[in-house]
């Protein structure tokens, strides 16, 4: 019986295996939460192709084509990595604020063990649970950031493609004017002006994209220092994570101490201090 809130969201089918984490599923398995290895993008994006065509018509567009090609990201690969951060890793670790499914299974396995050492172990489980929840939030935060980044690259590509398409239309129109001696001189000026306008617009877009990418880099660095507790916490998002606090406290709990070596032929004995511990045996 799965407690409410631990099951998969409706419409996602059963979890990879039974309750909780279950045995790990190999990444190649159809039920694996991991995506297939990153797909390689097929050739340049639409924006790059359009500008390549434009630079074939007018030499003046070549420098912009090179800029566009240098800025173009692999949107599909970024979106796939986003899915991995959010679903495959974060999703299986559970939901922050709730008990992780695997931790719940461990807690239920302690039934029948009732003494002070069990309380200490349960405390360690709770600390571990909250740290794992923070790690999961960090992974989601990472995925969110990548999603915004993929959007930015997609928007940039769309805008650049539209601009390049209208430039090509203008250049093709000017070709006719160039063919006639009466308008040839004016057409050369018009071509230079059209390309210059488009170049300036692309450079403005590049500035926007570059600013966004630089902001994202700053945010990633901040996320890292917040996770490692190097710097102050983020205004929003996950905070410091320290799993070391989830170790079982052993002071005053002799059951967790290493059992004394058994002398040859001697009887088994308990660690020192065991007389003072309430073993709770009838």
């Amino acid at each position: 019986m799965t407690p409410p809130g631990y099951g998969p969201p409706p419409g996602y089918g059963p979890p990879p295996s039974g309750h909780g984490f279950g045995a790990p599923v190999p990444p190649g398995h159809p039920q694996s939460p991991f995506r297939a290895p990153a797909a390689v993008q097929k050739g340049p994006s639409a924006g790059v192709r359009v500008w390549r065509a434009a630079s074939g018509i007018s030499v003046l567009a070549v420098s912009t084509y090179l800029l566009v090609e240098g800025a173009q990201g692999n949107e599909a690969a970024i979106r796939e990595a986003k899915t991995s951060w959010i679903n495959a890793l974060g999703g299986t670790l559970g939901v922050e604020g709730q008990l992780m499914p695997g931790i719940d299974t461990v807690r239920r396995a302690t039934a029948g063990w009732q003494a002070g050492d069990e309380q200490a172990f349960e405390g360690a489980l709770n600390v571990f649970n909250s740290q794992l929840g923070s790690l999961k939030t960090a992974m989601e935060y990472m995925g969110e950031g990548l999603g915004h980044l993929a959007d930015a690259y997609a928007d940039f590509d769309t805008a650049v493609r539209l601009m390049g398409a209208s430039l090509i239309a203008a250049l093709l129109g000017l070709r006719v004017a160039r063919a006639h001696p009466a308008t040839a001189a004016a057409a050369v000026f018009a071509e230079a002006r059209a390309v210059r306008t488009a170049n300036l617009a692309v450079i403005a877009l590049l500035g926007q994209l570059g600013g966004f990418v630089a902001n994202t880099a700053v945010n990633l660095a901040r996320l890292r220092s917040a996770l490692l507790n190097i710097d102050t916490a983020l205004p929003r998002g996950p905070g410091a994570i320290a799993f070391a606090g989830a170790e079982i406290p052993k002071d005053g709990l002799p059951p967790f101490h290493r059992p004394p070596e058994r002398a040859p032929g001697g009887a088994r004995s308990l660690p020192p201090g065991s007389e003072g511990f309430d073993w709770n045996l009838e």
């Binding site: 990444p27 990595a81 890793l89 302690t110 790690l135 170790e247 073993w279």
Partner: protein, 117 residues
């Protein structure tokens, strides 16, 4: 004679209740925490790695390093988590052996009292 029957009946005789539960707990920690964490840690890089040029030739220069550092940080945190669950497994194994000793000592004492009365 009684303890022979207990041995035949297995460990669920009521005398080894705690040590049995601790052994079960250690098994659950291994199967439900340590093993998945090991698997995530091993898969993280491969699943989140981006092909070269994913942020563009220029974007890679700006973002590539920060992205790799996050990957390494999360990998380290997963490895910390795994170290903690492995420590639990060691502590629980000690606890199981100690409890087993304590249970057997208590049973021997009870048998001795039973023989006297």
């Amino acid at each position: 004679m009684r303890h022979i029957w207990r041995k035949i009946a297995g460990v669920s005789d009521g005398k080894h209740l705690s040590s049995t539960a601790i052994a079960r707990t250690a098994g659950a920690v291994d199967h439900h925490l340590t093993q998945p964490l090991t698997s995530y840690q091993g898969n993280l890089r491969r699943q989140t790695d981006l092909p070269p040029g994913a942020f563009g030739a220029v974007g890679d220069l700006i973002l590539g390093r920060a992205y790799t550092e996050i990957q390494l940080t999360v990998e380290k945190l997963l490895s910390d988590a795994r170290a903690v669950t492995l420590g639990w497994q060691r502590d629980l194994e000690y606890a199981r052996r100690n409890w087993r000793t304590a249970e057997d000592l208590a049973e021997a004492e009870a048998d001795a009292i039973g023989r006297l009365t």
